[in-house]
Symmetry: C2
């Protein structure tokens, strides 16, 4: 038997277990037992904490998103130069590889959003937050004179997030010639046109 835990702790475990199970079996294909097994518990215990499975799945998706976003914010927090900041931001929005758990979960949501309003709202909110993030970087760079924006910052920002999303899907689907590095290059090619900045990475990673 797995160690006993407080309600709060166990709920975190379950959210994580649900995340793993959904990645393996899909948002609508996942079963209670699979989640229980991932958590090292029995189905009864899962129901004790989440009498309604749907709630757990939603919380898991929400948590996955939050984590994804927070991680990005953290990665770029220390960088002052707008050009470098933009480059790092782009990289942080892409999966590290086809098995990147965070992005896998997000991709999972795309289809579900078409038939589930809650998921649709989650995804839309994430999109808008990322757009704001980019917009801030772009505006700052423009104010400092390092970017010469060819279009409204919102347009550029939306297109950058869109490109990230799409290449995320490509990488997850194991496109033979688009890996994370290649995707960064493709997105940077667009960013160069839009910002008029050569955007040369100084540091790797």
């Amino acid at each position: 038997m797995s160690q006993r835990k407080s309600k709060a702790d166990r709920r975190l475990d379950l959210i994580d277990a649900a995340r793993r199970a959904m990645i393996q079996h899909g948002t609508e294909g996942v079963h209670l037992n699979q989640i229980a097994e991932e958590a090292g518990l029995t189905s009864g215990a899962v129901l004790y904490h989440y009498p309604n499975l749907r709630d757990l799945l939603i919380e898991a998706h929400q948590a996955g998103m939050e984590r994804f976003y927070e991680r990005r914010v953290k990665k770029i927090s220390g960088i002052a130069d707008p050009a470098q900041k933009l480059i790092v931001t782009i990289r942080s929005g892409l999966p590290e590889g086809p098995d990147d758990a965070g992005v896998r979960l997000l991709c999972e949501l795309g289809g579900a959003a078409g038939r589930n309003r809650v998921y649709a709202t989650l995804l839309t909110t994430l999109f808008d937050r990322q757009v704001s993030m980019y917009q801030t970087i772009l505006e700052t760079g423009a104010a400092h004179g390092v970017f010469t924006l060819a279009q409204d910052s919102e347009i550029i920002a939306r297109n950058l997030v869109a490109l990230e999303d799409a290449y995320g899907y490509r990488i997850i689907a194991r496109h033979h010639s688009i890996d994370p590095e290649k995707a960064v290059e493709l997105i940077l090619d667009h960013a160069r046109l839009a910002t008029g900045n050569p955007l040369k990475p100084t540091t790797r990673r």
Copy 2:
């Protein structure tokens, strides 16, 4: 009882029924009975034609993709002017609205591709075909002197397809401020930078 049909006809019906059922319940959430009901048959009849459900689902996805692609090719077939052709192509890659069945099915695949190699291959193939389609238009326009490509045509083409994909997801998720028209504009904004052509639509729709 539903009319009797030849093997070939019935299989087409089933593929269509599976398509509808998957849109409603997801690729992994769909059940045999739901497909049977959509087709106006009993589960036994479905199994008679497809002893293995997985095969039917794969064929349905394949057919959906083929239809999506063919429709695009058809829509642009009569247009000579590269600029107009590009505009129409962009529009034809987006859903007509949040309930567009064809795109809904494609979105469905995004997550599944992460755990199913067959689906991943299907999606990747579609992506590459679309890239070629755009590349041809771009090269033709450049040869005629109406486009001044700011980058390699493959880069531009890939980014255009990526933008389409991503905005398709946004529209399906009912983004409050991104509808099909808005998405076309966003993508065109990018295309203008990349081709140096103002890309003004002459005809609506």
